[in-house]
Symmetry: C2
Subunit: 319 residues, 2 copies
């Protein structure tokens, strides 16, 4: 007999958490939070049956842990109102958020996007009270290895911040949830500063890996002309960030560049999506940064060309 | 019985002409010059047997004309010294020129490159006396439709000039050869000015057609972000040309842009080569213009990125 769902959730004093999306990020953090005793509900699609049957399987460091039974639902209405939502959908599915979020909200529900790139917090702020929106950056190497199953190669850390405010008690409380679940979490006052720092690597490497023909990072690093483009793109990202008030030292970009050869034949996530003919997150990684750069008056010709090529290459040919 | 080769050439007072390369350009102009009564010798490779059997077949405007017998040879030594050489090889075969040209030369042999892009005249000037080098631009729509057979869709014209001097008697005499063969020929004092004008179209459209995923020009014109890149690249080419002393009016670029939608689903020659997995002429169309732009201190970030991407996409990954 399946225990009643309320039995398998944590104590009633703990926050109710919903995970929106069952990719590797949603499965991993959701499972870690559940294993740490939180009341976690997963809104999933195709993984529903697998999770119903064998729970969520988490492979990490040679160990296998299972969340069973896991609270997986296939409609937002079944999940119902929660205190905290982690949005882990691909951004290319953001058009579904208005419909999916509504049933999960009460007046104080905090919504944290763990999605890539820029603009996701602002989009959420059009759907929920703006002051309830937070964002996080996931530094993790993980992969969804089967329905309901995630394999984590490198746990890394999360960087967490409010959409448009310094960190406060709520931010630190959510950070503590991660920490209690074994995930190092850095709470920051300026989330977008952290997002721009991540883009210093993502814009050139994710972009050129697709535009240069679907090649991993070691092939980029082996071509001096492409290496020059990586550096020039990094420089444009620094320029754009600075124009927006995020002053990131040159040495940070240099470091980002230097760690890359050691990553071997790494396929950036965008390249993995591209090669699998899945939607690529062009807008948050290249489109929105470009729009913000333009708004700040920064000259970023390479970012413009890369964005135009990527839109065509992934099949988004409209303006 | 095959007539002796000397019988099928023109009168002994006319110039001896060699055509180096039997692509569509070499076949077409060579055949036109031969049909006009000139002594033309073709240095060919794989087309030798076809030409031996049925001559050179020229299809144009619903008519079929044949040069038979045609003087086709498979080694430069057999061709021997001539007065005028037209180089119509793909530039990607330029490394063969030292070997191929030597047997064709006497002290006054004029060598005219009809190849694409920049740098071919300068390369020839390292192989023959620099003052004997000329160049021509071919505005023609033609296709090699079988071995030894060329189909011409639009005869267009040739623009002809000395490598590094104003037009003189020799230039006009060669121009007259074209005109007598029915090919309009414009003789110019500044060849590179004409070459830069051609690059205003070739650099963006040939380049983006490959870099944006192997698409014809109508697909470029249908994507506003790519159209913006075309315009920005044209602007960079104008800037580079101006820095080198070739002042091309903005309206010329605008005109080049405007004629493109009317070309329909046109595949630029570089794209045709790319899709057929043949070598692409990256260096004369993007590499050498970029080097000259840099030498003149012009800022051309888009040309840089496009060149880097193209080198990777066509498999030239070295610096």
């Amino acid at each position: 007999m399946t225990p009643d769902r309320s039995d398998v959730e944590g104590g009633s004093s703990s926050k109710r958490i919903a995970i929106l999306g069952a990719g590797s990020i949603g499965l991993y953090y959701g499972a870690r939070l559940a294993l740490a005793g939180n009341r976690v509900r997963f809104l999933v699609r195709s993984d529903r049956d697998a999770i119903e049957t064998r729970g969520i399987v988490l492979r990490e460091g040679g160990k296998v842990e299972t969340v069973f039974p896991a609270n997986a639902f296939s409609s937002a209405e079944e999940v119902g109102p929660v205190d905290l939502v982690f949005v882990t959908l691909k951004t290319t599915a953001n058009f579904e958020l208005p419909r999916l979020l509504k049933p999960l909200l009460h007046a104080q529900t905090a919504v944290v996007t763990l999605q890539n790139g820029l603009g996701n917090e602002d989009f959420l702020a059009t759907l929920v009270p703006p002051e309830n929106v937070l964002g996080g950056l996931c530094f993790i190497a993980s992969m969804r290895t089967a329905p309901g199953e995630v394999t984590c190669f490198q746990r890394g850390s999360v960087t967490l911040g409010e959409r448009a405010a310094a960190a406060g008690d709520r931010t630190r409380a959510i950070g503590a949830l991660f920490e209690q679940a074994g995930i190092p979490c850095r709470v920051v006052d300026r989330l977008d500063d952290a997002r721009w720092r991540k883009l210093i690597w993502n814009i050139p490497f994710n972009g050129l890996s697709i535009a240069a023909g679907g090649i991993p990072t070691d092939a980029i690093c082996a071509n001096p002309a492409l290496v020059a483009e990586v550096r020039a793109l990094m420089s444009e990202v620094l320029t754009a960030a600075a124009a927006l008030g995020y002053v990131i030292p040159e040495e940070f970009a240099q470091k980002q560049f230097e760690v890359t050869p050691g990553m071997g034949a790494y396929q950036p996530s965008s390249l993995v999506d591209f090669l699998a003919k899945r939607p690529v997150e062009v807008d948050p990684i290249w489109g929105e940064p470009l729009r913000r750069a333009h708004a700040a008056g920064a000259k970023v010709p390479r970012m413009e060309m890369l964005y135009a090529l990527l839109k065509q290459l992934v099949g988004e040919t409209r303006a």
